[in-house]
Amino acid sequence: MFTPETLQKFDREIAKYPAEHQCSAVMACLALAQEEIGWLPPEAIEAVAHYLAMPPIAAYEVATFYSMYDLKPVGKYKLTVCTNLPCALSGGVHAATYLKEKLGIGFNETTPDGKFTLVEGECMGSCGYAPVMLVNNRRMCGHMTPTAIDALLEECQS
């Protein structure tokens, strides 16, 4: 169910671990699967498990334990905003409120056009750059003042 490029990336991850421990690559492979599909449907989790010769339930356990795996479809852009205390002291909660108003949605909701999903995140280890937010699990944005948020949303719209 995956493209040859994704499978190649799987193999690169598997090669990092001793041959008898290839299920160590499950976290990376699930992340790559999610990157290709946009979220993690059950078939993708099972396909990853199959590829790594591990029981599907073991891959499910991993997919449900770690918070960055999306077990339901999300918008084209998933924005995860950190509202933890250190960030909140420097505007993390305000930034989240600003985004909610701009997008007209709350946490764990997606805009009607399917463009944006807003998620409340925990500390991303970047508190000095607060307010911080993560775009699609991959791109970290810091110092997200109202102007910076406007610019980010505009970039995503175009």
Binding site: F65, L85, L89, M124, G125, G128, L134, R138, M140
Partner: protein
């Protein structure tokens, strides 16, 4: 540049420009000279461990355990795979130092891991990187490629009989994986649930093999200790608190960011380097060592020096060196609510006292904050905290309990006011003024 300042820098010395993370730049700063020397002169492993012991380098991941001593626990005579694992799963609220080490000086981490592997007899290594800092995971992989191509990691390194393979593994959103045995479970491709100890990783670690887990900053310090000698590193700091350390300052200061300072530097000096309090407001309290360390009121912290001993005398912990600064506009009930939510969210669910207890703590602090607190709530909070601490497989339980106890002890009047008056002691309209969100651009 987010290394905002330093006194006698070691880890962050010469990190100017955006190429500092490249191999060529690291080598121009003297990088990999120590690995070359160790291999060319076949320096005995015991000599390296002795130097690290002499430096009194203490683990920078939070617990402050002496690194040299930890390394000496590895069983040298045992054959077969042995591992060195770097912990870059930084996700404790307030901590953001390791991400900057990976950003600006990843080769120091790689060289430190290679020398460490040689000293403890490990033949493979992993660096576990927090899932949220994906771009830095990619950067570390690029740095690994550079090091591999230059022959600093791989088979028969620099023509010696020492081989060491090193890879990066990323997390995907679980604070608990910073706990070293949860981290090992996670590398094995499982849920990150901590293991019972003993056995400790040195005897039963990754895939059941002897393993040493160290923090990123700990490992990045190794090449520099080798270069200057253990004693010289120790003397940068103060007795029992060797070297310099990165301090991540967040919250209500004018210049948040990372600062590298000698251990024992007065807290007041750090505050000056941070440009003082934002908006000239008054300091109220500081969480000196990441969200898990007890909060310290302004008067006390201003008399402290930044080292394990002084902060511990003040009733808290230096921890990972994450300094969270709060000004007079902060409602301490709200602040604790945010921390308690975090531990509740991040409890792995394995132990009952932590899984249930963190939920109860959050519920009660939340209801006090929401103006629905009841008489006796503070006693219940303290009793739950006591019943979590020390009764769980790992220290996340203690980490959740410690802030509660200290917030209630130092700011009891604010909690009582909330319960009695159903609102904050700090006027609502004044709260979070320090955040600067709406005025940063004015």
């Amino acid at each position: 540049m987010s290394i905002m300042g330093a006194i006698n820098p070691v880890l962050t010395a010469g990190l100017d420009g955006d190429k500092s993370w490249r191999l060529q730049d690291y080598m121009a700063r003297g990088g990999y000279a120590m690995l070359k020397k160790v291999l060319a002169e076949q320096i005995p492993a015991e000599t390296i461990v002795a130097a690290i012991k002499a430096s009194v380098l203490r683990g920078r991941g939070g617990a402050g355990f002496p690194t040299g001593l930890k390394w000496s626990f590895m069983p040298h005579s045992l054959s077969g795979d042995k591992y060195i694992v770097c912990n870059t799963d930084e996700g404790e609220p307030g901590t953001f130092k390791d991400r900057d080490l990976i950003h600006y000086n990843p080769h120091a981490v790689i060289e430190g891991m290679a020398i460490g592997a040689y000293a403890i007899g490990a033949n493979r290594g992993y660096n576990y990187i927090h899932g949220e800092i994906w771009e830095l995971y990619k950067r570390f992989e690029e740095a690994l490629d550079e090091a591999r191509n230059a022959g600093f990691i791989g088979q028969s390194i620099l023509g010696s009989d020492f081989s060491f393979e090193l890879f990066a593994h990323h997390g995907y959103g679980a604070y608990i994986c910073g706990e070293e045995t949860a981290l090992l479970e996670s590398i094995e491709g499982k849920k990150g649930q901590p293991r019972f100890k003993p056995p400790f990783p040195a005897s039963f670690g990754l895939y059941g093999r002897p393993t040493t887990v160290n923090n990123t900053e700990t490992l990045a310090s190794i090449p520099f200790i080798m270069q200057m000698g253990g004693e010289a590193f120790l003397n940068l700091g103060k007795p029992n608190n060797g070297g310099t350390k990165l301090f991540s300052v967040s919250g209500h200061v004018n210049r948040p960011g990372n600062y590298e300072l000698p251990m024992g530097t007065p807290f007041a000096t750090l505050m000056e380097m941070c440009g003082g309090m934002r908006g000239g407001r008054k300091l109220k309290a500081v969480i000196p060592g990441g969200s898990s360390s007890p909060v310290v009121p302004a008067e006390t912290i201003m008399k402290c020096t930044l080292d394990y001993d002084s902060i511990s005398k003040a009733g808290s912990m230096l921890g990972s060196g994450a300094v969270i600064v709060m000004d007079e506009t902060v409602c301490m009930v709200k602040a604790l609510e945010q921390l308690s939510r975090f531990y509740h969210e991040e409890s792995c669910g394995q132990c009952t006292p932590c899984r249930e207890g963190t939920g109860w703590l959050y519920d009660i602090v939340h209801r006090i904050e929401a103006g629905e607190g009841r008489a006796g709530d503070l006693e219940i909070l303290l009793r739950i905290s006591e019943n979590i601490a020390g009764r769980t497989v790992c220290a996340l339980g203690d980490a959740a309990a410690m802030p509660v106890e200290s917030f209630v002890r130092h700011f009891r009047d604010e909690f009582m006011y909330h319960i009695e008056h159903k609102t904050c002691l700090v006027p609502k309209e004044a709260q979070w003024a320090g955040s600067d969100f709406y005025c940063a651009e004015a």
